[in-house]
């Protein structure tokens, strides 16, 4: 599962808001939830209500000290703020924010900035190769043994068998016993006459 990120967008222009949301939609790797804020007077109130992880904000429409204020109000120092720039901005303005995106940034650039802010691991550390034990499990599954029978045969608990099966499905992206059969045969784990499925 990718990390859930609640993103508040405070931008009075509807066209720009819709545009940003559409660009965020194209960032597939992230699980993004959107809070739209059109009226910047409502900003603090809405942000406190929903406590976003990130807010993208038009710096010209709001108080520059908004980041600190929101963090205090929500009691959460980890909330990130990103300035949304329509044109060039001086560094003095930008130092109030964690980062900034320009309306000319590509989806790729915006994605990288968000990933950097949240330190999202892009690579999930699942080793893709099957372990010896997992291969043993596959062999028994395709022979038609139940989880209980496999557990008894390999001297492990049913729970462990289920964990192995879950990991196998995640690594191979094969969920059905008949799919595993093809895998097992292609990789010479079993012969056709041994399999049930």
């Amino acid at each position: 599962m990718s990390k859930k990120i609640r993103v508040a967008i405070a931008e009075p222009s509807e066209i720009l808001r819709a545009g940003i949301i559409d660009v965020l939609r194209r960032i597939n790797a992230l699980d993004i939830y959107i809070i739209e804020i059109s009226d910047t007077d409502q900003l603090e109130c809405v942000l406190c209500k929903y406590t976003p992880d990130l807010f993208i904000i038009n710096p010209t429409a709001t108080d520059p000290h908004i980041t600190g204020k929101v963090r205090t109000l929500c009691g959460n120092n980890k909330i990130k703020s990103v300035a949304l720039l329509h044109s060039l901005a001086d560094s003095h303005t930008l130092e109030h924010y964690d980062d900034s995106v320009s309306i000319y940034d590509s989806a790729e650039q915006i994605r990288n900035k968000i990933i950097k802010l949240f330190n999202v691991d892009q690579q999930k550390d699942i080793p893709k190769e099957l372990s010896k034990r997992e291969k043993d499990i596959i062999v028994e599954v395709v022979k038609g043994l139940t989880n209980k029978q496999i557990a008894d045969k390999l001297f492990i608990s049913v729970h462990t068998v289920m964990t192995h099966r879950k990991n196998i499905a995640a690594k191979l992206q094969i969920h059905s016993p008949s799919g595993l059969t093809i895998y097992a045969i292609l990789n010479n784990l079993v012969d056709l006459d041994q399999v049930k499925y």
């Binding site: 191979l172 094969i174 059905s176 045969i185 292609l186």
Partner: protein, 235 residues
């Protein structure tokens, strides 16, 4: 990022049928399921539908739903539309069961390297089991759901069934086909590459076509029938 030109908004009865098809070639499949053949020249969608005895409203509802993925909540459908959609769904079932799936099986057999004889057998077995599942899935609709809808159309509401039952157990039938695609792509050793590619293209297209078919059932057929149930109850 796309360099494809697309129509903003929905297709209407006054649009040209050939524009619809040329801009969305997958709609070819929709045409044949409505029993419309090619060669319609410059005729509009309305003219072509009238000529072929197809309910224009149903036709537009199907193509617009497939193209935009957005349901038009405001549409109200009469009995003719429901009958037309039933025919459409029935034709889709025949297409998958009698043409598409057998044709993929045929190509699969010739694409699989005979050097991996056992694997080939396992793959065909997997595929046949999958086709059996699709048969069961579609047969349920043909023998239970459609007769139920026909009796509703004649004004009879049977007490023992409603469309929500169908809705709840209507699972996606394309996921196992995707699994086969995965296995072939990730684990199949080099064989006859061109033939294998060709069958993979077919499997990709068929999986997405099955997903569209289910999408129409969930988002057009089910709401239509719920509405019909309410109307029959009121009478």
């Amino acid at each position: 990022m796309t360099d494809k030109i697309y129509k903003l908004g929905k297709y209407t009865h006054a649009d040209s049928m050939s524009d619809l098809i040329c801009n969305n070639y997958t709609m070819l499949l929709v045409l044949s399921r409505f029993g419309i053949s090619l060669g319609f020249g410059e005729k509009t969608i309305q003219e072509v539908c009238n000529q072929n005895g197809v309910d224009e409203k149903t036709f537009l509802a199907v193509v617009n739903l497939l193209i935009s993925n957005e349901r038009d909540e405001t549409s109200v459908f009469g009995h003719d539309s429901i009958q037309c959609l039933l025919d459409y769904l029935h034709n889709s079932h025949s297409y998958f069961l009698d043409f598409r799936l057998p044709s993929i099986r045929h190509k699969l057999i010739s694409a699989i390297d005979t050097k991996h004889d056992n694997a080939a057998k396992a793959i065909i077995r997997f595929y046949d089991q999958y086709v059996d599942q699709v048969h069961t899935h579609m047969e349920y609709e043909e023998t239970t759901v459609f007769p139920y809808v026909r009796s509703l159309l004649s004004g009879i509401k049977r007490g023992d069934y409603n469309i929500r039952v169908f809705c709840r157990q209507h699972d996606n039938i394309e996921s196992k086909l995707s699994e086969l695609k995965n296995i072939l792509i990730k684990y199949y050793p080099p064989g006859n590459v061109d033939e294998l590619n060709s069958v993979l293209f077919d499997i990709f297209a068929c999986a997405s076509d099955l997903a569209s078919h289910n999408f129409i059932e969930d988002n057009l057929f089910v709401p239509m029938i719920s509405q019909l149930e309410l109307n029959v109850k009121k009478q």
